[in-house]
Structures are given as structure tokens and as C-alpha cells.
Amino acid sequence: MTESDFLTSAPPASAQQGADAAPYLVVEDLTVRFPTADGVVQAVTGLNYTLKQGKTLGIVGESGSGKSVSSMAIMGLHDPKRTDMSGSIRVGGREVIGLSNNQMQTLRGGEVAMIFQDPLTSLHPFYSIGDQIAEAYRAHNKVSKAQAKAKAVDMLDRVGIPQARNRVDDYPHQFSGGMRQRAMIAMSLSNDPKLLIADEPTTALDVTVQAQILDLLQELQRDFDSAIIIITHDLGVVAEMADEVLVMYAGRGVEHGPTRELLTHPEMPYTWGLLSSVPDVTASTESRLLPIPGNPPSLLNPPTGCPYHPRCAHRDKVPGDLCRTELPELIPGRRGPAHLKRCHLANPDMIYETEVLPEIAPDLVELVTEESLEDTSDPRHPGSPENADQIDTPQRRAPDPDGEVK
């Protein structure tokens, strides 16, 4: 038996691993709780996702949905004395939860790096940009100060700071907002991280600068083949950057799938709400925005059942009191195993096409329904070759082995 025969006849799951590297980041059943005087804040509950090298995952949600808390857990930035964490986070096969601070330090800034939202407050105002990048480099590499400085110049040049040699001794206040964010990116990339977590990397920036930074991140991803998690509330940024999207609400993942699939055929009413409450530069100006009523729930005392039910406009379509009493599982919907949603609705795709889409984007109705007609012509084979190319599912824990195959 030749090697190729072996590969083709092997179980699909291992063929998958042979052809494609195992995911670099695996988050399994991650739960983060903060005990406070007012009670336990259930910041993240039962979160699962995986991410491969060279891929980008977008995490979307409102403030307080747990998107930053879950990513800070990967970096080990939560004070273990004040945080209850359970579940598993494996970075490159290595378990992160429970690592000592010393062990964590080799990982943090080395293999895993983070870009924070506000570049002014996350750079130290007393040290020059070059010193801060050199410090990050020297923390993980045994090099002289001069070598580290040269590396800093190199990195600044790499992220597009003009005259990097002269600017390396500047202090953060001498940089503009976009340049500071570039400097942050230079710092986080100085150790060639395999995983880069960008927490709202462009929220504080103007649109033209945002476009520059997003281009830069994509370019660097191509060069370094890193995995990127981009945390944002801007669906437009996710649409341009991410291969996969995870929508979070009240500390849980509520919808997860390939970007294009999820944005064209969302199956969870919260995602519909997010899409319909944002005006875009092409929509009709006559239509009203459809806001999500109410406020995000308190995580001290999250709602029973589906956390979104108090704000959901479609809960009466579910028989009985299911939405209020029972938490839906994050399971594949009707559109293939790659697209997971946490919702009791039996036919969300129908509701989206007939009720939601005509309201928010009448111009897209035809396009999407046409596309779904093509899709439904072959509903039993979501894993048909054409789909398999588009849908890049990470390996997922599922009871039956078929669930692992894309």
C-alpha cells in the first residue's frame, strides 16, 4: 500500500490531520467566574473553539459578552486568586490553565501575543518605543541590548513606520494614534508569535487608519503564518478579516461558522439583531434601524434558559416555554455541520429569509434566496466537495466520529 493509498483509505479524521495541521489553539469548555462581593460573575461559560495556524477567528459581541475575558484567559492574564477557571486551553498542544506564572511568562509575549485596544494606555509613557520593543524581545531571546535595539528598528520598519531608525527613540506621545498601534503590533510580533490576539485593534482609530492597520495585519499573517483572533464589535471588520466568526452573548458562544456562511445565513436571532441594528453605507435611508430591545443581561444573574430570550423577538415561535426554561445547545443547524447555533427555533433559515432579511436588506433577498435554493438542492450532502473547500471547520468534539469530519 502506497502512502497515498493509505491516506485515502484511512478514516477521514486522520486524513484530515495528515493533510492539515492540527489546530494550534484549542479552547474546550472554558468557564471563567469572578467571585465578587455582589455574587459570582459568570463571565464565560462553556466556551469551545479551535484555531489553526494561518487562520483568523473573529469574536463578536457586545461589551460584557465575555469576548475579552476569554481571550485574556489564553494569555493567563487573570489573577488566579480572584478567578475561578475551569475547562481547558491548549496552545500548541500545551495546557495553559494551571500553569505557574513563570511558565506562563515564556508563553506570553513569545508564542502568544496580544494587541490591546487603546495604544496610548498600553504603552509606557516613560520609556521610548524602541526600549519597549527591545524589552519584549530580550525577555524571550538571549541577545545584547544593541541587537535588541536593531531588532526594534527592524520591526518598526516592518510595520511601516517611516524612518524607523530615527523614530525608534521617540516616546509614545510623539507618535500618532495609528503609529502607536503599529508600534504595538511591532512589539507583539517581535518574537514571531504563533498566535496573535487582537482585542479591538482598530476601535480607537479613524477609518482610513483602520484600513491601513487591517491591511497590515493581513500582510503580516501571510508572512508569519500566525493564527489571529480578532475581537471586535464591528461586523464589517470581521467580514473583511476573519475566516470564521464566533458570536458571543452573555458569556456563551451563540453562533459559530465560516464568515461568509454566517453573515449571509445567520441562524440565531441575536446575530440578526446585530446585523439589523447597524446602518451600512449602502442600505436604504428610508428604513428605520431595528434595534435590539433592552440591555445586555447582568452576568451576576443571567436569565434562565436561553440567555437571549428576554430580548428575542422570535421566542413566541418556539412551542411551549422552552426558551425561558431550557438552554439550547450549540449544535449544527440545517446548513451543515460547520455552522453551529444556540437556538430553539426549528426553521431559522426560513424566518431569516422571509421576515428578517426583507426588513434589513431588501436588496439582498433575491441574492440570498437564490443562493440557498442552490444549496438546498443538495441538502443531504453538506460536505460536498464544493462546500468542503469553503467551509473550513476546526476539529470539534462531537459524540459521533462523523461530527469531526468537515
Binding site: D234, P279, V281, P291
Partner: protein, 413 residues
């Protein structure tokens, strides 16, 4: 939405604000400037430069209508808002509120007018005094201006809270007991307390979560319809501005570079900066259905307003810049019924003219040098509104070609 009971005199008809375009302007701004001095360090703090935050802008806001002001940080849009509310004094220029000049009024003279012009601030956390109750925050304007007798003030406050969608029984709570969206509603209630005719909304939704943004935008739209309030809507979010304002002005480094109705601005922008700005907005739908729009990459950052580039201020980042751009500042020419643009090479993206269109208006040749015998056009380029007659792009192009051709032919070899 409940209506304010005592404002029965106001028309309750829900007129769409965007149909009301030709009406009397409630605010007319002409050639407004604001320079901030830059002081040297040391004991004698001499003025060593000036930040030209707003440098000669003109626009008008129709009664009950809304004008959007967009641009990147540092372009002077917030300064403009603060000049109009007279939180700062303008360096020069004229601001007419309902036909009355307000730019040079003293604080005492301004006081009655503050009732008419109110402001909504960006950050709902820092714009409410944490040690005052909501009742006191919303009631203060009523007390200062003595709009209602003291005994009825509380009732009025409750009414206002109801108008903005808050529970009126929460008047004795403190701001920290409210979420961001609710705080922004408190700020809106405070601005509404005096029934202003003009509301300057400085980034009213940018500090809010996406799902809450839509609630506040809808609330502002309802209030505008109900009480016939004119809005100057300042924001950097192009999509929100497009949704809210029938007319939009784009600012760059203290100047208006393009001002027009939203259909023209978003579909056929004629200024390269507007084109770049629009192309930089990530669009969910576009990306979702596949194709990504061609993105115009602007290099670098906005130059310092202390020492702005000569001629056209955008030329340092513009991909079309030529010699004339450094020498001559492009005039804000009206090229359509409701369309003004300030660019030597104004045109739709991909179909921009190759020779400058402004030569005739400026009386210069294509290198920006004055041509003898030619004078600047007499057209008033600082008029705040749109004129009934205008010269379209083609005619500008034609009359300017004359100068290009002549000059080249005459040039001694």
C-alpha cells in the same frame, strides 16, 4: 413615544425631516475660523504658532433638518460644534442663528439663546455629574432658565425622562445606576429640557454598544420629527451619518472638502478624500456576498494643523496631487444643485479629469501660476447655502481647458 403635554402649540404632524430641504436655515455659518494659540514654554509664554482647527468653513442647517459633519479625528468637526454652542469663541467669521448674529455676543447676551441651541456630548460617562441625581441633572436647565415654576419642575423632569424612554420614577437615582445607553438618554433629556431649535450632537452614539446605538439613533429621529428640531450631527461613523442626515459635509484639516446631499456623497463622491474615506469603511454586506470593494489606501496620517500643507491640504496624501495642488488652494465650487466640492481634479472615482477644472475660477494656469488678464471669478465661494444657479463640472472643465491650452501655446520655448 409620548408627546410633551404642554407643548401643544407645536405641530404634531410627523413630517419627514429629509423632505424639508429648501426651508429657512435655522443656522447659517460663514467663513468660520478658530485658531488656538500655541505657546512657548518658559516664563514668558509667547505665541509661537497657531493650530488652525477650523479654517474658513461655511454651511447652513435647515429648520428641522439635519446636517452631518464627518471627518477623521483632528479635522475640526468637534471644534465647529463647540463654536456654534459658543462654548468657545470663534476667531473670525459669522454665525447666524435664525438670522441673528451670535458669533460676537457676550455671555450675558448669549444666555437667552442657549435655550435654543443645546448640545449632546459624546461620552455619557463624563458628561453627567456623578454626584447629582438624574432629576437634578435634567432639572438644572429648567431652573437656570426659569422655564417652569419650581413646583412643577419635578413633573416636567419626569415627563422628559418618559419622552426619552426612561422610567420617570428613576429621577432620584444617580448616573452610576444606569447603563451607557440609558445615560446617553439622560443627556438627551437634558438637552431637550429647554425645547431647543438646534441640537448639536457631537458623536452621540460612538461610545455605545452596537445594539444600543440603533436605539439612540431611532430616539433622536423620533424626537426630531416630533419637536421639529434641527440637528448638526457630528460623527466619524459614515454609516450612521448617512442614515441620519439628508445633507453631509466632509471635513479635512479644518476645511470642508465636499458638501452635498447623501445620495450624491455616498454614490458619486467627487473629492478624492471622500472617496478614500468611503472605501475604507468595512462593509458587512459587501464582504458577505463575496466581492470586496476596491480600497483606496491612504498613506500616512493627517498632517499637523499647526503647519498645514500649502495649497490643497489633502495633497500630501492624495494620489492625484500635481503642482497646482501645492500652489493654489482649491475653491469650494458648486457643481450641482446641492453639491459643492473643493478639488482641482474633482470627478467621480475612475473618471477624474486629467487637467484641473478650477483654472477658470481661479484665473491661473495648470501650474498654479497667475495668467495675466485673468481674474478670480466673482462668485461668492463662501456662501453658506447652495445657489440656484451653478456651473456644472463639464463647463468648468471646458472653460479651464482654455487656460491650459492658451498657456502652453504661448509659452516661449
Amino acid at each position: 413615544m409620548s408627546s410633551m403635554t404642554h407643548s401643544g402649540a407645536q405641530p404634531q404632524v410627523a413630517t419627514a425631516p429629509n423632505t424639508d430641504r429648501g426651508g429657512e436655515p435655522v443656522l447659517e455659518v460663514t467663513n468660520l475660523r478658530k485658531y488656538f494659540p500655541v505657546k512657548s514654554s518658559g516664563v514668558v509664554r509667547r505665541t509661537i504658532g497657531q493650530v488652525q482647527a477650523v479654517d474658513g468653513i461655511s454651511f447652513q442647517v435647515p429648520k428641522g433638518g439635519s446636517l452631518g459633519l464627518v471627518g477623521e479625528s483632528g479635522c475640526g468637526k468637534s471644534t465647529t460644534g463647540r463654536l456654534i454652542t459658543r462654548l468657545w469663541d470663534p476667531t473670525s467669521g459669522s454665525m447666524k442663528f435664525e438670522g441673528r448674529e451670535i458669533g460676537n455676543l457676550s455671555n450675558r447676551q448669549m444666555l437667552p439663546l442657549r435655550k435654543e441651541i443645546q448640545m449632546i456630548f459624546q461620552d455619557p460617562y463624563s458628561s453627567l455629574n456623578p454626584r447629582h441625581t438624574v432629576g437634578s441633572i435634567v432639572g438644572t436647565p429648567l431652573r437656570v432658565h426659569q422655564v417652569v415654576p419650581d413646583r412643577q419642575r419635578l413633573d416636567r423632569v419626569k415627563e422628559l425622562l418618559e419622552v426619552v424612554g426612561l422610567n420617570p420614577e428613576h429621577y432620584n437615582r444617580y448616573p452610576n445606576e444606569f447603563s451607557g445607553g440609558q445615560r446617553q438618554r439622560i443627556g438627551i433629556a437634558r438637552a431637550l429640557a429647554l425645547q431647543p431649535k438646534l441640537l448639536v450632537a457631537d458623536e452621540p452614539v460612538s461610545a455605545l454598544d452596537v445594539s444600543i446605538q440603533a436605539q439612540v439613533v431611532n430616539l433622536l429621529q423620533d424626537l426630531q420629527r416630533e419637536f421639529d428640531i434641527a440637528f448638526l450631527f457630528i460623527a466619524h461613523d459614515l454609516a450612521v451619518v448617512r442614515h441620519f442626515c439628508p445633507d453631509v459635509a466632509v471635513m479635512y484639516l479644518g476645511k470642508i472638502v465636499e458638501i452635498t446631499d447623501r445620495e450624491t456623497l455616498y454614490l458619486r463622491p467627487h473629492h478624492p478624500y471622500t472617496q478614500a474615506l468611503l472605501s475604507a469603511v468595512p462593509d458587512v454586506k459587501q464582504a458577505a456576498i463575496g466581492g470586496r470593494r476596491e480600497r483606496i489606501r491612504l498613506e500616512g496620517d493627517v498632517p499637523s494643523p499647526v503647519n498645514p500643507p500649502s495649497g490643497c491640504r489633502f495633497r500630501t496624501r492624495c494620489w492625484m496631487a500635481q503642482d497646482i495642488c501645492a500652489k493654489q488652494e482649491p475653491p469650494l465650487l458648486q457643481i450641482g444643485p446641492r453639491h459643492k466640492v473643493a478639488c482641482h481634479f474633482a470627478g467621480e472615482h475612475g473618471a477624474m479629469p486629467t487637467s484641473p477644472i478650477t483654472l477658470d475660477a481661479l484665473g491661473v494656469d495648470q501650474n498654479g501660476d497667475h495668467v495675466s488678464g485673468e481674474t478670480k471669478s466673482a462668485e461668492d465661494l463662501n456662501a453658506p447655502g447652495f445657489a440656484d444657479t451653478w456651473t456644472d463640472l463639464e463647463s468648468h472643465k471646458k472653460s479651464s481647458e482654455r487656460l491650459v491650452g492658451d498657456h502652453i501655446a504661448d509659452r516661449p520655448q
